[in-house]
Symmetry: C2
Subunit: 379 residues, 2 copies
């Protein structure tokens, strides 16, 4: 059986964890946390990187920093993971769902403006599979309307956006905030884990307070405050140092991971190009972006065909996966909202199917997988 996912191990994880254990400095925000945060700040030019226990928690920190209140509105794509919406719903915000593009499941930037009202507080472009939303247009709209941009970069490590002036910007470094995930399935992982990026100076100091459970711990330890006390809202967002040590071993191997994943991704692309006439759609990546080898997917012509493909592949020893149920059609959202028609999002929910991709997968595995797909579509 070829599994859908197999997390990468660089080989240094245990060594760094051993180092943490011998130091007995196990709590959060220690040596390895700083190493991870500096890695992102230096390599991608992010203003401030803050390690969190999950991408959901990073999004939550951004929601607190934006001071989202009941009645505020936020525009997010319906085709995304539950957490993108739930962090806002937790604070009583009204979720306004946008559609994605017809040929790729990223926010359709031309659908945003008509959704903006005087209550709109934030737009959340989700860089699905590491492919960039049109950040130039989105930032232009957001700044004109005085709205925050929170990049959901859960899948978008090591990705970029190329502007109309051919300037290359790292994803996660463009919006006011961005959030990355190090969940099990991601290119770089600590099982569970996340990162908040802050690109707007105004929010850096408060972010530290919110991360420190709403206390002035940092300024107290620096000697800038005379007592350690409750100063703000906040929660416990720091992972322990064991998690940070594990993650750091992965970050050091980022180039190796990316090279291997792109080899697999390119092989899929090459093999699938050959059989595209058989009746499915290959995603079209906009010219301002590129894949980071996180996801390889195709789009079947209907839900039933996708289900049959998944079953056929499983019978032939290959595990596929799919997601997301469009959020505007979920039980929770429909409790208090009426059913809308968000067609591209619904198409991807019904028809997108993901193929195994991870560094240990071999090119011959890819060729085998695609040969089975060919067999399926040929019958």
């Amino acid at each position: 059986m070829i599994p859908f996912n197999k997390p990468y191990i660089s080989g240094n994880e245990l060594k760094y964890i051993e180092d943490v254990i011998s130091s007995r400095e196990l709590a959060g925000d220690g040596k390895y946390t700083k190493k991870c945060e500096e890695f992102f700040e230096q390599r991608f030019g992010f203003k401030k990187a803050i390690l969190t226990t999950s991408c959901t928690d990073a999004l939550e920190m951004a929601v607190l920093l934006m001071d989202i209140q009941p009645g505020d509105e936020v525009i997010i794509p319906s085709f995304t993971y539950v957490s993108t919406a739930n962090v806002f719903a937790m604070h009583g915000a009204r979720i306004v769902f946008a559609d994605c593009k017809s040929h790729f499941p990223i926010l359709d930037e031309e659908s945003i403006e008509e959704l903006i009202t005087s209550k709109t507080k934030a737009i959340v472009p989700v860089h699905y599979s590491g492919v960039s939303c049109n950040m130039e247009r989105i930032m232009e709209i957001a700044l004109r309307h005085n709205i925050f941009v929170l990049e959901d970069a859960a899948m978008a490590i090591n990705c970029h956006f190329k502007s109309s002036k051919n300037e290359v910007h790292n994803l996660g470094g463009i919006g006011h905030f961005s959030a990355f995930s190090f969940h099990d399935t991601k290119n770089v992982s600590s099982g569970e884990g996340g990162l908040l990026v802050i690109n707007d100076d105004r929010f850096i100091e408060r972010a530290q307070t919110i991360r420190d459970k709403g206390t002035n711990k940092k300024s107290f330890l620096n000697g800038e405050s005379d007592k350690y006390e409750w100063v703000d809202l906040g929660s416990s967002f720091s992972p322990n140092e064991i998690t940070a040590a594990f993650l750091y071993a992965q970050l050091e191997a980022l180039d190796v991971i990316q090279e291997k994943r792109m080899e697999i991704w390119n092989e899929y692309q090459f093999q699938f190009n050959d059989i595209q006439y058989l009746g499915f759609e290959l995603p079209l990546i906009p010219s301002y972006s590129e894949s980071n080898g996180h996801v390889f997917f195709i789009i079947c012509d209907n839900k039933n065909r996708r289900e049959k493909l998944i079953q056929f592949m499983r019978k032939n020893g290959v595990k596929l996966s799919f997601h997301y149920n469009s959020l505007h059609k979920t039980k929770y959202y429909l409790k208090e909202n009426k059913l809308e028609n968000i067609p591209n999002s619904e198409k991807f929910s019904d028809c997108l199917v993901r193929f195994p991709i991870y560094p240990e997968l071999k090119k011959e595995d890819v060729r085998y997988i695609v040969s089975i797909v060919r067999e399926f579509f040929s019958n």
Copy 2:
């Protein structure tokens, strides 16, 4: 220098983490998470134990389960860590501060009833240093007024409450909910980490949903739901398996840890009894409880004396610590509330001082430490 704290290492931490790494099952809610949860359910008879990334997160889950809304009131002691209050403040609740007993910094059960209004939704007894609040009286009051009880058992692993009928109840297993901490400083630690306990059947199913980011993941995987979707509020509360593996190695050593800590604690108690006439107060533990060796503290007669003691001890190579700033006197609370007088809480904030206590500390260290304290108070 004798440090204030030194986390215990059982010796199996790395072995179990190695096991997780070779299994490649790194995400949350896996084998070791279940082992940890079962440990608490079996050893302490808790109905349902759910591992979280922190005690703060466990408290947050309880707040979601209790459906705390803006305007709801919650009674908590002012002498507690910021998170006890902040998880409620995050949901717009009004925090009503109660005082603690005069001889021990646990909630004064006789002060509760006059604070209850028609809006009171929850009482949070904090078992400071593992010493139980009067849970018999608190549960009686709460049930009569139809109010939830959330035990803040952050420090209270392996503790109990003895009722007036001589029945022994494990702390954390009495209220509707309870929250434990595995922070760095705790008896059993994973650097950062926590546990939510649910003792009321009505909340178990929803807790799983909330922990799974507000999705029906569990019932989907069980085949009980036909699609994986957004069904409720929720967040990412699960720690990764590396953290759970580390914690499990500690839990297996619980009896060893407790024995060593109690030896140290008893030695402090014995040595300090001898010099109590010199002008400080030893805490008086109520007869329905016992220490779990988590904290040893004395109470100075004023803040200035405490500060001088800390400095004197440091000069002699011993690190002491103190906490908490009473929450009713903090910057955040005073922004929207006027200053109240909560005298016992303020006394402990000003005068309580904690001594080093951890399994590696030796009895002769304790004797040395107390000899320096004697020297300080003799001058």
